[in-house]
């Protein structure tokens, strides 16, 4: 994630480190798109964030950058406002969500989740198998017109998945907190990767279950 050390203000040509506003003339600047999300939001680059502060920073920056406030501005100002706000929104969306932030943190370390991300993680095999089987039952029951049975089954599956997700998230939060003191431990990295793929997998599964329940009230 390299970005230039200094940039030149489009209005007054002042050279400065990348910033939202030119330190010399205060004109809004387009941030280099490679800049990291922590810098966009102006918070410490750490895998654990203070959520209240994150939201406060997001609101403050929105109040200064949003395109609504540059409607009467020049073409350069409008473009900078649009691009920066899009970047700010993406940064906030990523950092406020624990698994997203974890994944982003890995990317910042030059790590990626492997291509075999779609394979069922070993620890989840039993649960996944059970859920798939139950979903099949639910579909059959629906065809047979046993709607109340379907409803109870779905509720049960949902509860199981949510419980599992919650415990994985707790483990993820703990691992991310450890990262601060124990920066490069290969075991920590492996743990983090496993947790993230498990969460990603469960989220997809959970989406399937939600879809099934949406069919319920869409009828």
């Amino acid at each position: 994630m390299n970005h230039p050390d200094t940039v030149r203000c489009w209005r007054c040509s002042h050279e400065h480190p990348p910033a939202l506003f030119c330190p010399a003339c205060q004109a809004i600047q387009v941030l280099p798109s490679q800049i990291d999300y922590f810098r966009v939001l102006g918070i410490p680059r750490r895998p654990v964030v203070n959520e209240a502060e994150l939201t406060r920073r997001y609101y403050d920056l929105s109040r200064r950058l949003h395109p609504d406030l540059y409607q009467t501005g020049t073409a350069e100002e409008k473009e900078a406002s649009l691009k920066n706000t899009a970047l700010l929104n993406r940064a906030y969306r990523t950092l406020r969500d624990l698994p997203e932030r974890g994944q982003y943190w890995l990317e910042l370390q030059g790590e990626r989740l492997g291509k075999d991300n779609n394979r069922v993680p070993a620890e989840l095999a039993d649960l996944v198998f059970e859920v798939q089987e139950k979903l099949a039952e639910v579909r059959e029951a629906r065809v047979a017109g046993k709607d109340t049975a379907v409803q109870t089954e779905l509720e049960q599956i949902r509860a199981d998945l949510n419980e599992q997700l919650a415990s994985l998230r707790r483990a993820l939060a703990k691992n991310l907190a450890q990262w601060e003191s124990d920066r490069q431990a290969p075991e920590l990295l492996r743990n983090l990767k496993n947790l993230l793929s498990e969460i990603a997998y469960l989220r997809t599964l959970s989406r399937d279950v939600e879809k099934e329940s949406e069919i319920q009230w869409n009828v």
Binding site: Y59, R63, D68, L69, Q71, A86, N89, R90, R93, W217
Partner: protein
């Protein structure tokens, strides 16, 4: 600072509002004082168009050429047109963008909406005594990209600069927030004439942050009217009459009036009387009967409410205030159902018909730079993505992402020397491309290279209007490449240009036609008077006066048959001059007669 006004371009009614010394105000019709402009356009046989109340009055008389609820067709393709629509209107094609056929001419929904916008603009210009160019137009939050684009096109066709498309529930929250200085979590339930929206917002120190939105762009008061018409008026009629456009539109109007009455009364009379078709129906409808007949329509609004809450990670009890918007929320059953769902009595202190327009005016004030104390953070209502291998929808921007939002995708080639990559943009929540809405297709031009070598980065940016913009950059050359996006259900830029040119031509043609009609009318009056004078007062003609006078009459008659209004005017003047002495003599004589044969000079 140029003024920006707010427009609520509604399915049933449209409004225009402005900020009058910090207070948003709706501009009423100068004649009737009515703040609502019925969103109805009537095309007359002589080529003129009527908008608003006069058009609405023609609905039952000329249903095929009077277009109602055009908003329901914005950004849609012919495959979305229902059987009922086909019974009600004539359409030009069986596929592609919707085009109405009226008096042998074709009109797209944006063109018809543009006529409504022009009418609102005239209203505002007359009231404010200044010309209006810039507007904020509201759209249902759940409008997809094509529907938004169509609304923007309507603005362009009306000669307006659309500064912002604003989501209707968000606009309503602005009007409420302004009023109440609310903080906390609110839900805006907006049931309009043709669309339903639910938005969940967090209000915090002047920031209006939309957490989630959901809805149905084909669910509204119109559906209720139609149900009542079918169940209580049309059901007893012979099949042929049930499909008759005049019977259908009368039944719908009767149903609408009954629905309104039943918001306050417990019972009303339904009367459908079309003597020349032998239709006479009259019976009593109680509120209870109506509610039983439409309960399922109201129930359909609750699924989106449920989904929006879930997407925001909230439960109904978390909501601290529920705001009702849209005329249909006046129905007691709606209030009851919404109240039950959220477990609290909904707020309806602002006029549900006006609140969206008022909010649009507030946002226009911010956009014009006058106001900086409130800020809207809105979301994209439906996921955006592209079609990938095997016809799968690959989501790039998830629904309920705060806008502006952007995402970059890398594209490369699959075979050697490929010169373009085709991209198919989709919107929707389904897994397969075929189940999502096709928004547009475009080609990324690529310089011939071995397969996999070219690297083109495509940026998908959803702007603050909720409209998608696409740019492509060739990473090898660093050159930005323009992509021409072909909308699946919209007008191309070229088509808009052509329509704009035509509308200018038509405007000229309209003026010409009007001047010609006026000149002919005046010529008729003149010819008639001259002929009468010659018949009754031939004795008063001076020597040698008759021949040039008859020549002038004949010349005017010939000119009248032609199309040149200037020529007609010239000859009216010529005839008037030729008859002046004669007319003077007639006048003198009449006065003399009246005064008992006294000469003028004696008076």
């Amino acid at each position: 600072m140029e003024r920006i006004v707010g427009i609520d371009l509604g399915t049933t009614n449209s409004l225009i509002a402005f900020i009058d010394e910090d207070t948003p105000r709706v501009i009423p019709d100068p004649q009737t004082g009515d703040p609502l402009l019925p969103s109805v356009v009537a095309f007359l046989a002589d080529g003129c168009t009527l908008v608003g109340q006069p058009a609405k009055e023609l609905v039952t008389e000329q249903p095929l050429t009077t277009i109602q609820s055009v908003k329901r067709f914005m950004g849609l393709g012919m495959e979305h047109v229902t059987g009922d629509d086909h019974r009600r209107y004539r359409f030009a094609d069986s596929q592609g963008i919707v085009r109405f056929t009226v008096h042998g001419r074709q009109y797209t929904p944006p063109e018809i909406s543009a006529l409504i916008l022009c009418s609102l603009r005239e209203r505002a210009e007359a009231y404010l005594q200044e010309s209006i160019h810039k507007v904020v137009i509201t759209v249902p939050a759940y409008f997809n990209d094509s529907q938004r684009q169509a609304t923007k096109d309507a603005g362009k066709l009306a000669g307006l600069e659309v500064i912002r498309l604003l989501n209707e529930p968000t606009a309503a929250s602005l009007a409420y927030g302004l009023d109440k200085k609310e903080e906390g979590l609110i839900a805006v339930y907006d049931l309009g004439g043709g669309t339903f929206d639910i938005s969940i917002l967090r209000l915090h120190t002047g920031i209006f942050e939309v957490l989630s939105t959901n809805g149905d762009t084909r669910l509204g008061g119109d559906d209720i009217d139609q149900r009542l018409a079918e169940r209580f008026l049309l059901a007893g009629l012979p099949e042929a009459l049930q499909h008759d456009p005049r019977v259908l539109s009368s039944a719908q109007q009767t149903a609408e009036a009954a629905k309104r009455a039943l918001s306050t009364a417990e019972g009303t009379r339904l009367v459908l009387d079309i003597p020349d078709q032998g239709v006479h129906i009259s019976h009593t409808l109680t509120r209870r009967e109506m509610e039983d007949a439409i309960a399922d329509i109201i129930a359909r609004t609750l699924a989106p409410c449920h989904q929006a809450l879930k997407d925001a990670g909230l439960s109904p009890r978390d909501i601290e205030a529920v705001v009702l918007v849209g005329g249909a929320t006046r129905m007691p059953l709606v209030r009851q159902r919404v109240g039950e769902f959220f477990g609290r009595t909904p707020l309806a202190d602002l006029n549900p018909d006006e609140v969206v327009a008022l909010g649009a005016a507030v946002q226009a004030d911010t956009l014009s730079g006058r106001r900086r104390d409130m800020l809207l953070l809105d979301v994209v209502p439906l996921s955006l993505g592209i079609e990938t291998m095997g016809g799968v929808m690959s989501r790039l921007i998830e629904r309920n992402t705060t806008i502006p939002a952007s995402v970059k995708e890398m594209f490369t080639t699959a075979v050697d020397d490929q010169t373009a990559v085709d991209v198919h943009v989709l919107q929707g929540e389904r897994e397969l491309a075929q189940d999502c809405r096709s928004l547009a297709r475009f080609k990324i031009p690529i310089e011939p290279q071995p397969a996999g070598v070219p690297r083109v980065e495509v940026t998908f940016l959803v702007d603050a209007n909720g409209i998608l913009n696409v740019t492509a950059t060739d990473l090898r050359t660093g050159r930005e490449r323009s992509v021409e996006v072909k909308p699946s259900y919209g007008l191309t830029d070229r088509e808009i240009e052509r329509l704009l040119e035509e509308s200018i031509d038509f405007a000229e043609e309209d003026v010409t036609r009007r001047l010609l009609i006026e000149a002919r009318t005046e010529a008729d009056t003149m010819l008639h008077a001259t002929e009468k004078a010659l018949r009754h007062h031939a004795s008063l003609l001076a020597e040698g006066e008759e021949i040039p006078l008859l020549a002038a009459v004949q010349a005017l008659q010939e000119a009248r048959a032609g199309e040149d209004y200037n020529h007609i005017r010239d000859l009216i003047d010529a005839l008037s001059e030729a008859t002046t002495p004669f007319a003077q003599r007639i006048m003198d004589t009449s006065i003399q007669e009246a005064l008992g044969q006294k000469r003028l000079s004696e008076l």
